[in-house]
Symmetry: C2
Amino acid sequence: MKICVIGLGLLGGSFALSVKDALDEVEILGVDINPGHSQKALELGIIDKVMTLEEAVPQSSIAVLATPVNIIEKQILTVLDLISPTGVVIDLGSTKENICLAADDHPQRLRYVATHPIAGTENSGPESAFKGLFRNKSMIICDRQKSDPLAYHMIKSIFKDMGMRVSYMNSIEHDKHIAYVSHLSHISSFALGATVLDMEKNEKNIFAMAGSGFSSTVRLAKSSPEMWAPIFEQNADNISLALGSYIEHLQDFKQIIDNKDMIGSTKIMKRVNDIRRVLKGIDIKS
Amino acid sequence: MKICVIGLGLLGGSFALSVKDALDEVEILGVDINPGHSQKALELGIIDKVMTLEEAVPQSSIAVLATPVNIIEKQILTVLDLISPTGVVIDLGSTKENICLAADDHPQRLRYVATHPIAGTENSGPESAFKGLFRNKSMIICDRQKSDPLAYHMIKSIFKDMGMRVSYMNSIEHDKHIAYVSHLSHISSFALGATVLDMEKNEKNIFAMAGSGFSSTVRLAKSSPEMWAPIFEQNADNISLALGSYIEHLQDFKQIIDNKDMIGSTKIMKRVNDIRRVLKGIDIKS
């Protein structure tokens, strides 16, 4: 079976490695605008051949879009033009609403299964790809009623073979929720990184005291701007709401700090300790 | 050698286990206002005897204050009253300025070495203590010129035997820096947890999509209010500045998101990717 992967970074590369590991007789056709990435992916055995999109898609059983989400939004139409009547197109984008809207009127819409694997690291490029990225992670299939049933059952089955848990959501709800449980976390890390790097200009030794607590909250600030700027742009409205709410909570906390109000801060922290329940759920799933 | 540990939570308990592992013939006298904690610490072999502070300190070579920082600020004077002329008092508090100010005029000030181990987890209580907590972590000794030189050399040597890297700072600079690289991280996690738990009230399924990125940014929101409310109160002025700066960065980011400004967000993220350098330094140290 030929699978073409368009975009050979962390996600596309890891998908290729993972699906080769899960299924027999898979040939990966790699497509990337960056010839350095294609070469690297070939050297690392992530892909079997380098091709253009126009060469690869028509001969593939599955076409996987793993480019930045604003690029996917444009490419989805071209790929749906080119995919065979029995082929399937999926994408790995972190936002879904705009991509689904773009695809909705296409005559081949049934061949598209809108997917989002809740998986990633803060690294990027084909060198960062690894086959275990998706194991025990969630895969969200959006707007499945618009996909051909056999197509999404086949995709679901492949993802399960890759060790993923599959669930369903509509694309509008997806983008609303992911703003809170992923996109906001990335922004919080970037802003924290910015705050502390600013201090470093005057306080050279500031990081001598940084430990694992600091690391865990800024880790995501290593993430790739090429991947995240389009995500923030595509999901701007939902992210703006989430960020507004987060800023309000911080302002409330600042008021409590300024008032040296230990009762107030204890009350908030006790309430938020409930996050233990949530994190236990995430850890059990992983 | 008798060492009394006052406060038998994560830090006090881990210190006891660690020092017993590092040195020969150590007897740990445990002091805690909570009889449940003392009992548990005895059962777990963290301490050898349960005593009151007034019984334990005078007979100890080292007295370790591992209570919340507002309690340490009061207890330091009592403990300096009771320690023998050749004994040493240390504390494990996350803030230093107020504690050092409180101790400064005490006739036995030379017996006090102001210490802060940059180590912890989000868990609490004696059950959470473990002997490896301090291994490969930093220990900051503050205002060492106010301690007896033999006293701080002895303490430094014990911490090195426990696997720690020791460095020096004055207590005012300590509190200023730690506001940015620890206290702010904890507040960012609590506020993020609060933001998402609020959404859960209306969107029961929101956490179905949460992955490791979310977990890493809210992990610290499991931290103990009993430990952190006093820290925020003691270091309020520095934290307020750090938090104000963080909120400004978030507001700038929100503006960029609202403007769907991919160039603007890319610029910030590229700059903050420099955090990779900082985190590599922290990982190498650990």
